[in-house]
C-alpha cells in the first residue's frame, strides 16, 4: 500500500476523484436547493389560493347553523386536492389544518385539522402571521414545521396551514439518492482514472526499465515505437534518437581507442619482444640487468597506456560489461589474499570483515580491478604500520564495501577532485588514474562511490553497488567456472616434462 501511494497513478487518480466529488457535490446541491425552492413555492401558491377561496366562502356563507359545516366541507375538499403523499406505512403525510377565529361571534374558533387544536392555537398566537404572506411555524409535537397563511377579513381571521412533512420526505429521499449516486460517481471516477493512469504510466515504466538496461549494457537495443503520436510514443522516439547519438559516439570512441592502442602497442610489442629474446640469450649479467630494466620500463609504460585507454572508455560509458552473478565477498577475499603479504611487509594491519554471500550482477574482471585499485591505493599511499579496515555489508538494495584506514587521509586540495583523471597527491607515486577508473566502473554498474577524511585522521572510501536485476540466471555464472577449470587443467599439464619438437 505504501508503495502504491508513491506512484503517480495513485496521485493522479486521487486528484481526479476529488475533482469528480467536488463537481458532482456542487451540481447536486444546486439541483437540491432549486427542487426544495420550487416545492415550497408551489405549496405557498396553493396555500394562498385556498386561503382566498376559504375567506370568500366564509364571507359569503350566512352565519347560521350550517355555516361551520359548509366551511369545514370546503376546507376538507381543499385538503383532498393535494396529492396523497403517503409513506411506506400508508399514512398520509400531508397534514392540513384550517382555523377561523372570530372574536365577535362569541363562539370558539372553527377548527378543521388533525388532533387537538391547542398546540396550533398556541403556535399561531406566538407567531402572529401577517395577512397574505405564507410563513413557517413550528408546532409543538410536529417534527416538521407548518407553512401557514393568514387571511384577515374584518374581525375574522382565517388561517390555513400545510405541514412540510411531505416536502421534507421528498427532499430527504432525493438527498439520499443523490448521496448514493455521488459516492458511486466518485468511486467510479477514482477507479477509471486510476486504471487509465496506470495503463499510461506502465508504458513510461517500461521505457524507464528498457532505458536503464540499455544504458548499462546493450547500446544496440531500442525502445518499441508505437504508431500513435501520443506523448509517450514521442518520449520513446526521443530516447531512441538519443541512443542513436550515444551509440555513434561510443563507436567512434572505441575505434579511436582501438587505433591508439594498435598504433602505440605494436612498436612496444616488437621492442619488448626483441629485448626479451636478447635477454634470454645473453649470458652477461650486467648487460642483462640493463635490458631487464628497459623491459620493466616498457611494462610500466604499457600499464599506463592500458589504464588511460580503459579509463577513456569507462568514462565515456563505452565499457562493455559482461554481467554475471558474482559474490562480492569472494572477489574481495581473492584480491586481499594477493595483497596480504605486501601489506604485512609494510607492517600494515589488515582487518577484514566480510559478510557472506553479498551477491551482485556485475562484470567480475572489472570488479577484480576495482578492488585491486582500492588496495593498491592503500599500499601506495599509507606510511608503514597503518591499520586498514575492509568491511563488506549487504544493505537493503545495495552491497556496500568500505575501506577505511588510519593514515594521513586525502590531502585537502584533492579530496573534492579525487575521481578526476591525473588528480593525485603531491607525493603520490601513482598516475592519479586508479580512483578515476574505480569511479567510472562503479558508475557503469549503477553504483556510487564516496570518499571522506575521518575526523580523527585517516581516509574512508565507501563503494556501493546496486543488487537489483538478480534475474540473470545462475547458469550464466558457469563459463567462469569452466574457464577456471580449463586453466587448472592447463596448469596441471604444463608440469609435464615433454618439450615440443
Amino acid at each position: 500500500m505504501s508503495k502504491l501511494r508513491t506512484t503517480a497513478a495513485w496521485r493522479i487518480s486521487i486528484l481526479t476523484a476529488l475533482a469528480y466529488a467536488v463537481g458532482t457535490a456542487i451540481t447536486f446541491s444546486i439541483v437540491y436547493f432549486s427542487v426544495a425552492n420550487s416545492i415550497q413555492e408551489r405549496s405557498d401558491a396553493w396555500l394562498s389560493g385556498e386561503a382566498a377561496v376559504l375567506a370568500r366562502v366564509s364571507t359569503e356563507t350566512p352565519r347560521d347553523r350550517l355555516y361551520s359545516r359548509a366551511v369545514r366541507e370546503v376546507a376538507e375538499l381543499a385538503a383532498s386536492e393535494l396529492p396523497k403523499e403517503r409513506n411506506a406505512a400508508g399514512q398520509n403525510l400531508n397534514a392540513v389544518f384550517f382555523l377561523e377565529q372570530d372574536p365577535t361571534d362569541g363562539q370558539g374558533p372553527l377548527w378543521v385539522g388533525p388532533s387537538s387544536n391547542n398546540v396550533f392555537l398556541k403556535a399561531i398566537g406566538q407567531a402572529h402571521p401577517v395577512s397574505g404572506a405564507p410563513q413557517s411555524i413550528k408546532v409543538e409535537g410536529w417534527r416538521t414545521s407548518f407553512r401557514v397563511v393568514a387571511q384577515h377579513e374584518g374581525e375574522r381571521t382565517i388561517y390555513l396551514g400545510l405541514s412540510g412533512r411531505g416536502a421534507a420526505h421528498t427532499l430527504q429521499t432525493l438527498a439520499l439518492r443523490f448521496l448514493v449516486a455521488w459516492g458511486v460517481t466518485a468511486l467510479l471516477g477514482f477507479f477509471i482514472s486510476y486504471k487509465s493512469a496506470e495503463r499510461t504510466l506502465q508504458r513510461v515504466e517500461q521505457i524507464t526499465e528498457t532505458v536503464a538496461r540499455i544504458g548499462s549494457e546493450e547500446l544496440g537495443e531500442r525502445l518499441p515505437e508505437p504508431n500513435n503520436l501520443d506523448e509517450i510514443s514521442r518520449l520513446a522516439k526521443t530516447f531512441n534518437h538519443m541512443l542513436d547519438r550515444i551509440q555513434t559516439s561510443v563507436k567512434q570512441l572505441r575505434s579511436v581507442t582501438d587505433s591508439v592502442a594498435h598504433e602505440l602497442k605494436t612498436p612496444v610489442t616488437s621492442i619488448r619482444g626483441t629485448l626479451e629474446s636478447a635477454l634470454l640469450e645473453e649470458p652477461d649479467d650486467a648487460w642483462r640487468n640493463s635490458v631487464g630494466e628497459a623491459i620493466e620500463g616498457l611494462d610500466k609504460l604499457t600499464h599506463l597506456l592500458n589504464t588511460v585507454l580503459d579509463l577513456a572508455e569507462a568514462e565515456a560509458g563505452a565499457l562493455s560489461l559482461d554481467r554475471r552473478v558474482v559474490d562480492l565477498s569472494d572477489v574481495v577475499k581473492q584480491v586481499v589474499e594477493i595483497y596480504q603479504p605486501a601489506m604485512a611487509e609494510r607492517q600494515h594491519e589488515l582487518v577484514i570483515d566480510l559478510a557472506d554471500h553479498v551477491v551482485v550482477v556485475a562484470d567480475v574482471l572489472l570488479l577484480n580491478r576495482v578492488v585491486n585499485n582500492l588496495l593498491e591505493n592503500e599500499l601506495a599511499h599509507l606510511p608503514a604500520g597503518c591499520r586498514i579496515h575492509i568491511r563488506l555489508r549487504s544493505q537493503q538494495d545495495s552491497a556496500e564495501l568500505v575501506v577505511e584506514d588510519n593514515g594521513p587521509g586525502f590531502p585537502p586540495d584533492i579530496i573534492a577532485r579525487a575521481f578526476e583523471r591525473f588528480v593525485k597527491g603531491k607525493y603520490s607515486p601513482g598516475h592519479g588514474l586508479g580512483l578515476a577508473f574505480v569511479d567510472a566502473v562503479v558508475q557503469a554498474h549503477g553504483g556510487t562511490i564516496r570518499i571522506s577524511d575521518l575526523p580523527n585522521g585517516g581516509a574512508m572510501i565507501i563503494l556501493s553497488l546496486p543488487v537489483h536485476g538478480l534475474e540473470v540466471p545462475h547458469e550464466a555464472s558457469e563459463p567462469i567456472k569452466s574457464l577456471k577449470q580449463v586453466r587448472n587443467f592447463a596448469q596441471t599439464v604444463s608440469a609435464l616434462p615433454e618439450e615440443p619438437r
Binding site: 619482444g273 623491459i295 584480491v335 594477493i338 605486501a342 593498491e376 601506495a380 587443467f489 609435464l496
Partner: protein, 225 residues
C-alpha cells in the same frame, strides 16, 4: 610441431619467428589474412598465432574461415585491445586462447604449450612433483627441501607448486596471478614480488644452493643452477 603466424607487423613477426624456432617449432608466417588462409589450406599446422588487427580482414573472421575448412588446430589470438571482446572470450572457452599486446614471449610460449597439449591428448595428473632436492606432495599438501619440512601457507604452496610445475622455465608475474589466483589483473605495485620473497625465504633459507631466481624484466624461475 608446425605453426603459422598471421601478423602484419614485420618486427613482431620477426622476433616471434626467431623465438619460436629457438623453442623448437617449425614456423610459417603470413602478413595478411588472405595469405594466411592460403597457407593454412594444407592442413599441416598444429597451431595458429593470429593477430586480430589484420589489414585485409578481422582476425576473428579469419578464424571462422579456418574453422569452416574443418581445421581444428588451436588458435592463439594476439590483440592490441585491452578490454577483450566477448567473442574472443567465447573462443577462449572453445579451447583457444588470447594474449594482449604487448605480451611476454615467455607467456606466449607457455600458452602455446598448453594449447598444443590440450588439443592432443589428456594427461593423467601426478601427485608428486620434484625439482632438485625440493619435493611436493600434492595430496598431503606438503613441501620438503631435503629432509626439512617447509611450513607454507596455502597460497605459498600453490605458488611453489606452479613454479615447480614450470621448473626450468621462466614465469611472469601475470602468469603467476593468472594461474595461482585466477586473476587477470595488472598491479602496479610489487604484490607478486612480495609473495616470491616470502616463499624464497622459506625455501632457500637454509639451503646451500638457491632454487628460486629472479630474471629481471621477465619474471621468476625455479631451477637448480
Amino acid at each position: 610441431m608446425r605453426l603459422l603466424i598471421v601478423e602484419d607487423d614485420i618486427a613482431i613477426q620477426d622476433f616471434l619467428q626467431r623465438a619460436l624456432v629457438e623453442a623448437g617449432y617449425q614456423v610459417d608466417v603470413a602478413s595478411n589474412a588472405k595469405t594466411g588462409e592460403l597457407k593454412a589450406l594444407g592442413g599441416i599446422h598444429d597451431a595458429f598465432i593470429i593477430d586480430l588487427g589484420l589489414p585485409d580482414m578481422d582476425g576473428l573472421d579469419l578464424i571462422a574461415c579456418l574453422r569452416a575448412q574443418a581445421s581444428s588446430a588451436p588458435v592463439l589470438i594476439l590483440s592490441a585491445r585491452r578490454s577483450v571482446d566477448e567473442r574472443v572470450k567465447g573462443l577462449e572457452q572453445g579451447g583457444d586462447d588470447y594474449l594482449t599486446k604487448p605480451f611476454a614471449l615467455i607467456e606466449l610460449l607457455a600458452r602455446l604449450r598448453n594449447l598444443l597439449r590440450r588439443s592432443s591428448s589428456s594427461q593423467n595428473e601426478s601427485i608428486r612433483l620434484q625439482a632438485a632436492d625440493l619435493q611436493l606432495d600434492l595430496v598431503r599438501h606438503e613441501a620438503r627441501r631435503g629432509d626439512h619440512l617447509l611450513q607454507l601457507t596455502k597460497q605459498e604452496f600453490a605458488l611453489l607448486e606452479y613454479l615447480c610445475r614450470n621448473a626450468g622455465r621462466v614465469v611472469t608475474r601475470t602468469m603467476i596471478l593468472d594461474h595461482v589466483w585466477h586473476m587477470r589483473i595488472d598491479p602496479a605495485t610489487n604484490v607478486v614480488d612480495v609473495h616470491i620473497y616470502r616463499l624464497r625465504s622459506k625455501v632457500d633459507q637454509d639451503a646451500a644452493k638457491p632454487l628460486i631466481h629472479t630474471i629481471r624484466g621477465v619474471g621468476y624461475v625455479l631451477k637448480h643452477v
